[in-house]
C-alpha cells in the first residue's frame, strides 16, 4: 500500500479482474451511438416545463409556493432594496451579510444606514457570520423545472454565506431562469469551460427536515426562510 494513494493498484486490479466477464444489459434504453443515453433525451422524460419564458416563470412560481420559497417580482433594484428593508423591519434585523458583485453593490447603497453590513469577500469570522440575521447573495441560475436556485462558490459569496444565516435572500434577474437541469449544466459548462468553481449547489427551498415522524420542519440547519427577489 502506498501512503499517498493507498491500495490503488490492488483495487483497480480487482475491478479489472471482476469486469472480465461482461454483465448483460437488462434495460436497453434509447442510446446514442455506442454509449449511454444522451442527456438531450432527459427532457422528454422528466416533468415538462414549457418552452416560453412566461411558462417557465409560471412553473417556477408554482414550485416556489409548494417549496415555501418566497418569490417577489421586483421592478428594479430600488424595489428589491425596499423588499429587503421591509423584511429587515419585520424580523428586526441588525446585521446582514453579503458579498460584492455589480448587482449587490447597487442594492447595498440603497439599504438603510441602521443596518450593519458584513462583507464576506476578504474572509470573515465564522461566529460573526453565524450571528447575522440574513445573508444576501446573487446566483448563477434559477431552474424552472425544480424551483431551484443554483449558487457557486466563486460567483455567489463562497460556500457558506448562502446556508449559514437563518434567512437567505437571493437577488436574480429574469434572464437567469433556465428551463431545466440539463440546460443549467450546459450553461455552467459553457461559462466555466472546465474550470468549475469548487462548489456548485442547487438550493431547492429553505432548509428542511422530515426526520421526526416525517413531519416537515423548515430551518433544520440552514436558512428557515428563502426569499427570491426577481428583477426584470
Amino acid at each position: 500500500m502506498n501512503a499517498n494513494s493507498g491500495d490503488r493498484n490492488a483495487v483497480l486490479g480487482r475491478i479489472r479482474e471482476a469486469l472480465r466477464e461482461e454483465a448483460p444489459l437488462k434495460h436497453p434504453a434509447e442510446r446514442s451511438a455506442g454509449g449511454a443515453p444522451t442527456t438531450a433525451h432527459f427532457r422528454e422524460w422528466l416533468p415538462p416545463v414549457g418552452s416560453r419564458i412566461d411558462e417557465r416563470l409560471e412553473l417556477f412560481t408554482r414550485l416556489s409556493q409548494t417549496l415555501r420559497s418566497e418569490l417577489t417580482l421586483c421592478e428594479n433594484i430600488a424595489a428589491a432594496a425596499a423588499a429587503v428593508t421591509e423584511l429587515a423591519a419585520q424580523e428586526n434585523w441588525k446585521t446582514i451579510a453579503l458579498h460584492k458583485s455589480d448587482l449587490l453593490d447597487g442594492l447595498r447603497c440603497l439599504l438603510p444606514a441602521s443596518l450593519n453590513l458584513l462583507t464576506v469577500d476578504e474572509g470573515y469570522d465564522k461566529d460573526a457570520l453565524e450571528a447575522c440575521d440574513a445573508g444576501i447573495t446573487q446566483c448563477e441560475l434559477l431552474v424552472a423545472q425544480t424551483g431551484s436556485v443554483c449558487v457557486t462558490s466563486s460567483n455567489d459569496g463562497g460556500r457558506v454565506l448562502s446556508v449559514l444565516p437563518p434567512h437567505h435572500i437571493v437577488v436574480a434577474r429574469r434572464s437567469q431562469l433556465v428551463s431545466d437541469l440539463t440546460e443549467a449544466y450546459a450553461s455552467l459548462a459553457s461559462k466555466y469551460r472546465g474550470t468549475y468553481p469548487s462548489m456548485i449547489s442547487f438550493i431547492t427551498g429553505p432548509s428542511r427536515t422530515g426526520d421526526i415522524e416525517r413531519i416537515l420542519v423548515l430551518g433544520a440547519h440552514g436558512p428557515k426562510r428563502l426569499s427570491i427577489l426577481l428583477l426584470p
Binding site: 500500500m1 494513494s5 493507498g6 491500495d7 483495487v11 483497480l12 479482474e17 471482476a18 469486469l19 466477464e21 454483465a23 437488462k26 434495460h27 436497453p28 434504453a29 434509447e30 449511454a36 443515453p37 442527456t39 432527459f42 422524460w45 422528466l46 416533468p47 474572509g123 470573515y124 465564522k126 453565524e130 423545472q145 425544480t146 424551483g147 431551484s148 462558490s153 459569496g157 463562497g158 460556500r159 457558506v160 446556508v163 449559514l164 437541469l181 440539463t182 449544466y185 472546465g194 468549475y196 468553481p197 469548487s198 456548485i200 449547489s201 442547487f202 431547492t204 432548509s207 428542511r208 427536515t209 426526520d211 421526526i212 416525517r214 420542519v217 430551518g219 433544520a220 440547519h221 440552514g222
Partner: protein, 485 residues
C-alpha cells in the same frame, strides 16, 4: 440491534419476532411510509415518462459500473488536478486508519460529520472515539440515533421508528432541554446544538451520492443543509464513498437528481444538491484547504465479479425498496443487523460479509417484487434474492432437505406408491395433533408458526374420478349439460 456472540441468523429471528409483535412501533412506521408513498406517487406522476427515465438511468449506471476502472481513473486525474487527494481503500481498516492518521497529523480537535452510510459500514465513529476524537453527527436523524446509541433504522430515514415523545425524552435526558411535543421545537434544539459543532470543527466528514468522472466532482444530496455546512466551514473535508457511485458525465445528474428525490422522499428535488470539485480554489473566499476523497472497495469488487448480480451496484441508495417492502414494514430496520437494510441490503450484504452468515436475509422476502418495481434504476432485486438462495444452496447444501426432496421425487415418479401414500395421509392428519408442537413433531419448524394443512379423507384424485364417472353417466343419458362446460 446486534448483540455479540449470537450468529446473525438467530439474532435476526429473535429481533424479527420481537418487532413483528410490537404493534405500536409498526403503526408508527406504517404511518410514516404512507405519507411517503402518497408524496412519491404524486411527484412520479409529473414525469413525462418515468419508465424511459428509469431505463436510461439503468443504462447510464450500467455503462459506469461496467467501465468502473476507467471512470474512477478519470475522476482521480481530474480531481487531483484541482488539488484534491484520492485515497483508495481496499477495506474498512485502511479507510479508518487513513482518517485517523490524517486527523493526528493535522492536530484535529473536533470533527463534524454529515450522513454517510459508508461511515456506518466501516464503524468510523467508534474508531475515531477510541483514538480520542469526538465526532458529532449533524443530520438530525443521525444525531438522534447517535444520542440514543443506536444504529440508523433506515438508511434514508434514520429515526423513522421514533415518536416525538421518545425524542423529547431523549433530548431531555441527554441535553437537559425542556420536554415538548412539537417536532419544530425539537428540531430547533438540535439546530442550536449543532451550529456550534460546525463552527468548532476542524474536520468535516461526508459521504457522497455520486462521483462524477468527467469533471472530478462528488455530489451530495441532502435536505437540511448540514452537509453544506459540514464541508463548508472546517479546514479539512474528507468524503468517504463507495467505488460504485460513479456517473460518467456531470449532466447525467440532470436525470439522477430528480429521480433520486422522487424515489427517495417524493420530492421533485431534494433541498440541497451540491457538487464539490476540489478544495477552495484560487480566488474563492472560503472552503476547506484540503479535500480528501476515500474510494472504498470493502468487498464491492466481489459483487462486481458476479455478472449476474452486478447491477446491484447500480443502486443509488434512495431507500424506495425499503419503503415498499412488506417485510421491512413488519420487522423494521434493526432486525436486519446490517448497514444497508431492506431488500437491497439483503441482496448485497451476503457479498460484503459472507453468504453463509447472511443468506437468511434472502429468505426474508415474500418475492412479491414490489422492490424491483419501485427501484428507480431498475435493479432486479427480488430475482437477486433468489440467486442468493440458489448460491447458498449450492455452496452448502442442506443434507436433510436434499434427502427430503429426493424422497419426494422418488414418490412423485411412482404413481402406485403415491396413491398408497395418499391413502395414509388422512391417518397422519389424525395422529398429528398428538405430537403437534412437541419435539417429536416431524413438521415442527412449520407448526411452530403456522397451521399444518389437514389431509382430507377423500383425495382430489378420488373426487376427480367420481366426477368424471358422474359426467359420463349424465352424458350417456342424452342431456347436453355436461358437454357445455
Amino acid at each position: 440491534m446486534t448483540t455479540l456472540a449470537e450468529p446473525p441468523r438467530h439474532q435476526f429471528q429473535l429481533d424479527a419476532n420481537r418487532t413483528a409483535a410490537d404493534g405500536d412501533r409498526r403503526a408508527a412506521v406504517r404511518k410514516a411510509l404512507h405519507n411517503y408513498s402518497s408524496a412519491r406517487d404524486k411527484t412520479g406522476a409529473t414525469f413525462n415518462d418515468w419508465k424511459s427515465a428509469r431505463n436510461a438511468a439503468s443504462a447510464i449506471k450500467h455503462e459506469a459500473v461496467n467501465h468502473l476502472d476507467r471512470y474512477l481513473e478519470e475522476f482521480e486525474s481530474k480531481f487531483t488536478a484541482r488539488g484534491g487527494k484520492v485515497f483508495w481503500a481496499s477495506d474498512s481498516k485502511q479507510a479508518r486508519d487513513y482518517i485517523i492518521d490524517l486527523a493526528k497529523r493535522k492536530s484535529v480537535r473536533a470533527i463534524v460529520k454529515s450522513k454517510a452510510m459508508t461511515g456506518e459500514e466501516i464503524h468510523l465513529n467508534q474508531a475515531l472515539l477510541e483514538e480520542g476524537f469526538g465526532v458529532v453527527e449533524s443530520d438530525l436523524g443521525e444525531y438522534i440515533q447517535q444520542l440514543k446509541g443506536e444504529a440508523p433504522y433506515h438508511f434514508v430515514f434514520p429515526c423513522m421508528h421514533l415518536r416525538r415523545d421518545e425524542i423529547s425524552d431523549l433530548f431531555h435526558k441527554e441535553l437537559g432541554t425542556a420536554k415538548t411535543d412539537s417536532p419544530e421545537e425539537l428540531t430547533m434544539i438540535a439546530r442550536r446544538v449543532l451550529r456550534r459543532a460546525y463552527i468548532d470543527a476542524d474536520m468535516g466528514i461526508s459521504g457522497g451520492n455520486f462521483i462524477v468522472a468527467e469533471t472530478g466532482m462528488i455530489s451530495i444530496t441532502e435536505n437540511e443543509g448540514n452537509a453544506r455546512l459540514t464541508v463548508g466551514l472546517p479546514k479539512i473535508h474528507v468524503a468517504l464513498i463507495g467505488i460504485e457511485k460513479v456517473v460518467p458525465r456531470l449532466a447525467d445528474l440532470a436525470l439522477f437528481l430528480p429521480m433520486l428525490a422522487t424515489a427517495g422522499t417524493g420530492q421533485h428535488m431534494t433541498g440541497y444538491n451540491s457538487m464539490y470539485g476540489g478544495p477552495r480554489q484560487p480566488g474563492e473566499l472560503d472552503g476547506p484547504e484540503e479535500f480528501h476523497v476515500i474510494l472504498l472497495d470493502n468487498h464491492r469488487t466481489r459483487l462486481l465479479a458476479d455478472p449476474e448480480q452486478r447491477d446491484a451496484l447500480h443502486c443509488i441508495r434512495c431507500g424506495a425498496c425499503l419503503n415498499v417492502c412488506p417485510i421491512f414494514k413488519n420487522i423494521g430496520g434493526h432486525a436486519y443487523g446490517t448497514t444497508y437494510q431492506g431488500p437491497i441490503g439483503s441482496v448485497i450484504t451476503p457479498h460484503f460479509r459472507g453468504l453463509e452468515d447472511w443468506k437468511h436475509l434472502s429468505g426474508a422476502s415474500s418475492l412479491c417484487g414490489a422492490c424491483t418495481e419501485t427501484c428507480p434504476v431498475g435493479i432486479d432485486i427480488h430475482h437477486h434474492l433468489l440467486h442468493n438462495r440458489r448460491n447458498a444452496a449450492a455452496q452448502k447444501p442442506a443434507k436433510g432437505e436434499q434427502l427430503l426432496w429426493k424422497a419426494f421425487a422418488f414418490l412423485m415418479q411412482r404413481p402406485a406408491l403415491y396413491r398408497l401414500a395418499s391413502r395414509f395421509a388422512p391417518l397422519g392428519s389424525l395422529l398429528h395433533p398428538l405430537v403437534s408442537g412437541s419435539p417429536l413433531d416431524p413438521v415442527r419448524s412449520w407448526t411452530s408458526t403456522r397451521e399444518f394443512p389437514h389431509a382430507p379423507m377423500r383425495s382430489f384424485r378420488d373426487q376427480f374420478r367420481e366426477h368424471q364417472a358422474a359426467k359420463k353417466g349424465v352424458a350417456s343419458s342424452g342431456t347436453q349439460q355436461g358437454a357445455k362446460r
